[in-house]
Symmetry: C2
Subunit: 310 residues, 2 copies
Amino acid sequence: MNEFELIARLTKTLPTNETVLAGAGDDCAVLDFGVPEKLILFKTDAVVEGIHFTRETPPKKIGRKALARCLSDIAAMAGTPTAALVTLALPEKFEVEFVGKIYDGLNAVAEQFGVAIVGGETTTNPERILISIALLGTVPRGKQVLRSGAKVGDAIFVTGELGGSLAGKHLDFEPRLKEARWLAEHFHLHALMDLSDGLAGDLQHILNASKVGAVILKSALPVAHAAKLRAKENSSAKPAALAALTDGEDFELLFTVASKDAVKLLDTWKKKFPQLKLSCIGKIVAGDGILLRDKNGSHKLNAHGYVHFS
Amino acid sequence: MNEFELIARLTKTLPTNETVLAGAGDDCAVLDFGVPEKLILFKTDAVVEGIHFTRETPPKKIGRKALARCLSDIAAMAGTPTAALVTLALPEKFEVEFVGKIYDGLNAVAEQFGVAIVGGETTTNPERILISIALLGTVPRGKQVLRSGAKVGDAIFVTGELGGSLAGKHLDFEPRLKEARWLAEHFHLHALMDLSDGLAGDLQHILNASKVGAVILKSALPVAHAAKLRAKENSSAKPAALAALTDGEDFELLFTVASKDAVKLLDTWKKKFPQLKLSCIGKIVAGDGILLRDKNGSHKLNAHGYVHFS
C-alpha cells in the first residue's frame, strides 16, 4: 500500500461539519468561517531529515523550504497566506545555533510573503529533525480553484521548468503566489494545483478529481536545465523528458483553462511575468489517464510521480 | 538549554501582521480574520512514539490522545474547536490496520466534539510514529481568556484531580471544553490555561505572563487517586502531593478569578458539574514565583513541571 492508497482509505469517511467546503483531497482545505467575502484555507506540510533535506543542508534553507512548500499549496488555491504555526521535532542533543538558523530561514520567507509566525511547539524526535508547518490563508469567496473543475477541451499549462529539482531548486524555489492570484483574477481557471510529486502523478490527481483524461505533447514539456544536464552527464540517469514528467519538488503551478482563453493567456502572461516561462503542454480529453504524444505516436503514461512508501 | 529556554529564544522576534491578537506564548494563537463577533484560534500539537505513547498503546487511544491534547488547548482559551488537519509520520513498514485504528480514535473524538477532519498528510519518519494535529477553533470576540490577566488577590482554581496521569488518564482524559465555555460565559476569568506539563511549571507561565506570584496551599491540592496509589505502593515514587504539583498530562483547567467571585463560582459549579471536582488551591500575590504553604510554613517552590530536553 503506497501513500496515496493509504490516504484514500483513511479519508473515505472523515467527520465533517457545516464549515467545510473542501476537505481532504485538494491542495488546501477550504473552510467557511463566516468571513465576509473570504474563505479560509488550511494546510499542513512536513519535511523530514534524510528525506526532504540532509544534515548537510544549510539550516536556513531547511527552514525556508519547510514553509515555502506550504506557501506553494496556498498558491495552488489562488490564495493569500496569513499565519503559520511551526512544529519542530528535534533529537535530544540539538545545536541551538542550527535550530536558530532554521528559524532564520522560516522567518525570512514568512516576511517575504507577509505571513505571521504565531507559535507552534518543540518536541522530541530522537533520530532526526522533522518540521511540520500549519498554515492559514484566505481566498476571495468564489475565487478558490479546486482540482475538480477541468473540462474536456481545456488547455493544460505549467509555469517554469520541470525536473531535476533535487540539484538545488527544491531548496530555493519561489512559491507562485502572485502568479496564481493574477491568473485567478484575470482568467477563469478550471483546475489548479502545485507540482510537488511530479507532473505525471500530480496531473493524475486533477484528472481523477475532474473525471477526465489528458494528452500531453512530449515536445512541449519545459524541461529544466538541471534535468538535461543530469541526463547528459550520467547515462544511467532518467532521460530528461522523463525527469520533467516524474521528478518531484518542482513547486510550479499546473492548471487548465478553456482552450479559447489559451492564446490571450500566453500573450498577457509574457507581458506580466516576462521572467517566468509559461507552457501549454497539452489538453484535457474525455476518458481517464494520460496519453503522451511524441513523433512516434501516443502511449499511455503509467510512470508515477514520486510516491512515499512505494 | 531546555524546551522553554529554546522556545523563548526562537520566539523573541517572529514575523507578525495585522491579523495577530495573540501569537506564540499562549495556549492558542488568537487571530482576527474579520469574522463578525468571533476570533479564530489556531493550535498545533504533536505526539511521538516512545514519549507520549508506546507501540503497546492501543492505537485508537493514540489517535484519541493526539487530537484530545489539541482540544484541551482550545478549552484553555474558552473556545470551540472546528476543523483539524492530521500529519501522520510513519515508519516505512507500517500496519495498515494499526494506522486505521489510530484514525478510528481520532475520528471518534472529533465527532464527539463536532470537529471536522479536513485532510492532512502522511510522510515518512523511519524510526517511530509521530502524529501532529493542527486545529482551528473560534471564540466569541472579547471572550478569549489569555494567560496574562491574573491579578493580585485572585483566587486560583483547578478542575479535576492532579498527578499520576501516566497510569491511564493521559489516554482517556476529557478535554474540558464545555466547562471552560461555561466558566467564561458566567464568570470573569482573569487567566486560564490547561495543565499539560504539571501544575508547578504551568502556573509559572501564568505568573510570568501576568507579572505576579502565587501562594498554593498544599492541603488544598486535589491529588489524584493514581498518584496516591503510586506513592503508597512504591517508596521511591514521588510523594503524592509532589506528583500533583509536577506530573504532566493532567489536561485539567487552571484559572484565576477575583476572590469576590470564588464562593459563588464553587456553589454554581457544584450544581452545573456535580461529577467534576473544582478546587480553590491558593491565591495570586505580588511578586513572582510560587510559595507552597503547609503546616510547617511556606517555602519557595522550585520544582519544575515536566520539561522536554531538560
